[in-house]
């Protein structure tokens, strides 16, 4: 598999590590022992949609620019439809300069 890193260009899979499904971290409120809050963390940490199809996931370009990437990939075909930096978009200008 090749991943088109927005910074480095097309790179081999072997340069990356992957974190799996891009799950948002729940927003914690003050009561850390609240059952709903805990349930939301359990869900975010352990449970997955695990779709056969389009999958949004985080990858880290470990042997490259060390960016965390948000990758949109089809788990049936491995076709990658979108790769973007997971960080804020202020660097976009630099990419195109």
């Amino acid at each position: 598999m090749l991943i088109n890193c927005p910074f480095c260009g097309l790179r081999d899979l072997g340069e990356f590590s992957v974190n799996g499904e891009a799950v948002a971290r729940p927003v914690a409120h003050d009561d850390f022992d609240d059952a709903d809050l805990r349930a939301s963390f359990v869900d975010a940490v352990y449970f997955r949609d695990n779709p056969a199809g389009l999958h949004r996931e985080y990858w880290f370009h470990a042997a490259g620019c060390q960016s965390w990437l948000l990758v949109e990939r089809d788990t049936r075909t491995h076709d990658i439809s979108k790769v973007e930096l997971a960080r804020s978009q202020e660097h976009d200008k630099e990419m195109t300069s």
Binding site: F7, R11, D12, G14, E15, C65, Q66, S88, E90, H91
Partner: protein
């Protein structure tokens, strides 16, 4: 800002000497015998290298400041841009290395520091790297054994620079701006393994390992 400015073996005031010949580094001819070596390898010492990363939301200002100081914003993804005696290598979003060699580095360093001011963090990291310089007619033959990015001289043109994987190590591979040489930088601790990987790959073409030096 951490400041290791002026760290250099030339600084005779220092009471410690810089190690320039690691235990694994053996000089001389090796590999296939022949008149001319296909590859010449040399450990580069005496660099200054700064890791610079823009502060959050300050990238634009930083570009402007650098442009004012150096005549241009020396930033281009995966390229080396020469400006003000530095080689600026873009290594990631809003991150780059500034390498400086040769005399008058203190003045340059001061200028860079001024330009960066509080727009970026700047960490001296030269000691964290081992840099091998490779020249000779067979260099790309050696590198294509290890590197998965396209090294076609037209694609990997003078000034090109990538961070990529080489024999399980993360290396920064550059082609010098004059196009004559390739430089391969790796985290210092991997120096021996990188030396081994490169020299073994170069042996079939005849290899000359030069004593470490500055370039």
């Amino acid at each position: 800002m951490s400041d290791l400015s002026g760290v250099s073996e030339r600084d005779a005031a220092f009471g410690l000497t810089l190690e320039t010949t690691p235990h694994y580094y053996g000089c001389g001819r090796r590999g296939r015998a022949g008149a001319e070596p296909g590859v010449v390898l040399q450990l580069v010492v005496g660099d200054e290298r700064f890791n610079i990363e823009a502060r959050r939301g300050k990238t634009d200002e930083l570009f402007i400041s650098l442009r004012e100081t150096f005549g241009r914003a020396p930033i281009k993804p995966m390229r080396t841009v020469e400006a003000g005696g530095f080689e600026f290598i873009s290594i990631g979003p809003s991150r780059w290395h500034a390498i400086s060699r040769g005399p008058d580095r203190d003045e340059r360093h001061a200028l860079l520091r001024e330009a960066i001011h509080d727009l970026a963090t700047m960490v001296e990291i030269a000691h964290g790297f081992i840099v091998f310089r490779l020249t000779g007619p067979m260099v790309t033959e050696v590198l294509i054994k290890h590197v998965r990015v396209d090294l076609d001289p037209e694609v990997f043109s003078p000034g090109a620079c990538v961070t990529t994987e080489l024999h399980g190590m993360t290396v920064q591979l550059r082609r010098t701006c004059d196009g004559d040489a390739y430089e391969c930088a790796v985290a210092r601790s991997y120096g021996g393994s990188l030396f081994h990987a490169l020299t073994c790959a170069a042996d079939p073409y005849g290899l000359l390992v030069l004593p470490a030096g500055d370039v």
